[in-house]
Structure formats: C-alpha cells, structure tokens
C-alpha cells in the first residue's frame, strides 16, 4: 500500500511547492514549517491527499499528519478503512 501512497503524497506536495526538493526534506521535519505552507496551502494539501488516496483527514487530526513520515503512517492506517 505504501508503495502507492508515498508517490501520491509527494506529488501533492510537489504541486503545492514545485520549487521544493522533497529529497532533501529532513526526516521528521514539520511540513508546514519546512515548506512554508500557510493554512490555505495545508488545506489544499489535505484536499489533494483526499483526491489521491480517498482518505479524508479531519481537522482534528491535522496534528497527526504534520510530518511526511507521520502523514504516510496515518494514511496507511486509514486507507481502505
């Protein structure tokens, strides 16, 4: 499953920040801090992830998807649920 999820999430991030190099994103980095995403960007991220994976991340869970790693983990837990 994660095989499909990671590229999907990276694509969404890339669409938001075409200039950002996700390869160099430090492990555990807060996406909003690291990529300078404001609340509109982050909403677009959540919408993009929903479109790509079908997982709807409620606002209450935003804190659980704040880094790339925790986000992938969250999506794996919820995909197909």
């Amino acid at each position: 499953m994660s095989d499909a999820i990671r590229p999907a999430v990276e694509r969404v991030l890339h669409e938001l920040r075409p200039e950002a190099d996700l390869e160099t994103l430090p492990a555990g980095a807060d996406l909003r801090e690291e990529l300078d995403l404001d609340s509109m960007d982050f909403l677009n991220f959540v919408i993009g992830v929903h479109e790509a994976t079908g997982v709807d991340i409620p606002e209450a869970d935003y804190a659980r998807v704040s880094t790339l790693e925790t986000c992938l983990e969250y999506l794996e837990q919820h995909a197909g649920a």
Binding site: R11, H14, E15, R17, P18, E19, D21, R32, D38, S39, M40, L43, N44, V46, I47, H50, D56, I57, P58, E59, A60
Partner: protein, 421 residues
C-alpha cells in the same frame, strides 16, 4: 472600434511585458475572453478583453515591454464588412504584428501543451511555468520555449531553467532582454550582475517601494486597531467543517472577507475608489486579498461581489485565487477591480497586528494579525482567548477615525456572529 490597452494590474504596475497573444487578427472576441498573457514584475496574468468585436490588429509584438495604457491591439465593432475608420486593413501586413505563425485557436482549456525542446514555433498553449522559473529565465536570458519542464504536468521549474542555462553555454549569462533595459520606456531596475539572486527581489522591491511611496505621498492615512475575540467563531468553524466535505472546508480568511464585505454596507465610504479628486463609492464590495507569492512579493487579487456571495462561495473563490496567484495564472479581472483590500497574516506566528498601506485608488485597507492566544477580560474576569487584532488603514480624504471606528466595530460584530456570514 476600440484600442485594447496595456491594463494596470495593480497600483504598483507601471509597465508590463506582453508574453503571448492568444488571438490573431480576424479573430472574434467576446467580453471576458482571454486574449493575451501579460507579465508584470510579480506574475504572469491572463488578460481579458472588455469589448465584444473582432481583432483588427495586434500592435505590440510578443516579448515587448510597454507602459500601462499603451495600445496593444485594435478591436473592431465586429461589423464584418471591415473597419470604418481604421486605415488599411492590417491583417497580415502590420509590421509590428507577429503575423506569421497564426496562433491556431485559443486553447479551450487552461491546460498547457507541453513545451518541447525544439526552439521552433511558439507553442499554441500556454507554457506552464512557475513564477520563480519565469523570473530566473529572464535573468539568465533563457528562452522558456526551449526548456524542458519536469514539474507537475510538465511545468518548468527554477531547477529546469538553471539546468538549461548550464547546458547552454552559447547563451550569454545575461540575455539580450535585460541588457537592453536602457532602451525601454520603463525605469525598471538595472539588471544586477549576471543571475545574481538579488536581481529579482531587487526589481520586485523597487516596484513595491515605488507604489507604496506614491500611496504614502498622496493618501493621508490614519490607523485604528481593535482586538477581536475569535474563540467562539473558531469553534463554529470547527463544528461547521466537521460536516463539510474536505474540499469545502472553511478557513477564517473566508469569514474575514465576508465580514469586511458586509461591513462596507454599513460604512460605504470605505469601499470604492478615489479618482480625479473625488471619491466614487462602489456598488459592490470587490475584496482584494493580499497573497504572498513564492519567491517574494505580494499580489492582491479580488473576490468579486463578496458582499453578495455565500460564505462557501467566497471560500471557493479565495482558494482558487490563492492557488492561481501562486501558480501565476491569475486573470486580469481578478486583479484590477478591488474596491477594498484585506491583508491577513494568517493563523501561525505571533504578530499582533498589520498596519498596511492603502492600494490606490482604494481608500481603505483592513489588516488581520496572526490569530493568537491572549488574556482577555470580560465580565470582570480574565481568561485565555483566541484573538485577532483587526486594523484599519483609512484615507482621510474620504473618512475619519470616527467612521473608521464604526467600520471596525461592524466587522467585529459580524465576525462574532459567523452563522450570519
């Protein structure tokens, strides 16, 4: 018959570069059609035409930078028999028209045709280029049509441009574009040393500085501020969002826009333009929303008729505008029309207030600081509340602190009654 002029896409715009024609002589255009892509110091903008008719001549070549107000094209009334007053039917002959490669039909969709590495004909679709890449290409003298994009849907990114630059040593580091700055009718910044990263921000800062100096010189500003308790409003947003599909979730910014728009009905002298020595009140509230553009700079596209739209529609507009502003695909009508502007610092950070400079010819700017936890006194008790500091930069030629206070009080009241927004 009418001339289509280089539009002013913001108070700080003195000139623009015609990047691409989307029509050719003989094409029929309707009000609202996108007929050209114009680049300002800040972004590439899709420009719409304001009359219905037939394109009789294109007067400015692609790639040319001209001052605001310069005739770009002649639009005929559409009488098929031919132009009445216009001199010789220009069609293919106009020297300045880029006649040869008729730009096929205007692409129906916004989706660009992907650039190829062939330098040959101008692509019929619009190149998808990130704003940073566009500027970098200009600095390095790189022809974007020759750059292969590796970004989303083939978008050209800054990295692509730099790759192209390093693999094309034949191209001098500073292309002919910037080198000819002196012959241009535009006082823009002289190019910095080849490809220096400051080059762009320097030009941008200079454009912003010029506009802001003008505003400060012409507009006798006054400033007011007021703290607003947003706690219950934010809870209302949370509850509402639980019931909304993800794509329709609300952000506080949408409520800010609605509250400001509705408040202008109560204090209408905040909403309009000051032109030729008098204030012209606007019929509707077209609320400009300042958006930070990647790589620096601000652009304030408008949410049209925000006083007549539902909160959900305002949110959808806002989301579209911010995305388009950042992708560099705004339309001219979204830029030239604001009747009042909002500058919002967003939800993260600890800045209390922003006191903005009015965007002429507008007469007011409403600022929202970061949303912060602060002690709040109410009913003799102090508690922690989520609050935002609302500010008003007003124009003394049109209003005063008293009316300004009423305006802020109205915004405060509206914000605290979100179900009515």
């Amino acid at each position: 018959m009418a001339d289509f002029l280089m539009p002013s896409l913001g108070a700080d715009m003195e000139a623009g570069r015609l990047v691409e024609w989307r029509v050719k002589p003989g094409d029929r255009v309707e009000r609202g059609d996108i007929i050209a892509v114009i680049e300002t110091d800040k972004a590439a903008i899709d420009v719409e035409v304001w009359e219905t008719g037939t394109v009789e001549a294109l007067l400015v070549e692609e790639g040319t930078r001209v001052p605001v107000g310069t005739p770009l094209a002649r639009i005929g009334s559409g009488a098929a028999t031919g132009p009445v007053a216009a001199p010789p039917e220009p069609q293919a002959e106009t020297p300045s028209a880029p006649g040869p490669p008729p730009l096929e039909a205007v692409p129906a969709s916004e989706r660009p045709s992907l650039p190829t590495s062939a330098p040959a004909p101008p692509p019929t679709g619009r190149l998808r280029v990130t704003p940073l890449a566009r500027v970098r290409a200009e600095e390095l003298g790189i022809d974007l049509a020759r750059v292969r994009g590796t970004g989303v849907e083939g978008a050209i990114t800054q990295a692509d441009v730099e790759r192209a630059a390093s693999s094309a040593p034949a191209e001098p580091p500073v292309g002919e574009e910037p080198a000819r700055t002196l012959t241009r009718p535009e006082p823009a910044a002289p190019p910095s040393p080849a490809g220096a990263p400051e080059a762009r921000s320097t030009a941008l800062r200079r454009a912003i500085a010029a506009a802001m100096s003008r505003s400060n010189r012409d507009i006798p500003h006054y400033y007011l501020s007021m703290a607003v308790d947003l706690s219950s409003t934010l809870s209302w947003i949370e509850r509402t969002n639980q019931q909304r599909p993800v794509a329709e979730r609300l952000l506080p910014a949408a409520l800010f826009v609605r509250a400001v728009a509705l408040a202008t009905r109560e204090v209408p002298e905040m909403n309009g333009h000051y032109l030729d020595g008098e204030f012209r009140q606007a019929e509707a509230a077209h609320v400009g929303f300042a958006v930070a553009v990647p790589g620096g700079g601000l652009i304030a596209p408008a949410i049209l008729e925000a006083d007549r739209k539902s909160l959900g529609d305002v949110m959808a507009d806002l989301r579209g505008l911010v995305s388009r502003a950042r992708a560099g695909t705004l339309r001219s009508s979204e830029l030239s029309d604001p009747t009042i502007t909002i500058s919002s610092l967003g939800e993260r950070g600890g800045v209390d207030a922003v006191f903005g400079i009015i965007n002429p010819p507008q007469v007011a700017l409403v600022g929202f600081g970061n949303i912060v936890d602060r002690p709040w006194a109410e009913g003799g008790l102090v508690g922690a509340r989520r609050q935002v500091t609302l500010s008003l930069s007003g124009d003394h030629r049109v209003s005063d602190g008293h009316r300004g206070s009423l305006f802020l009080a109205a915004i405060d009241r509206l914000l605290r009654n979100p179900e009515q927004l």
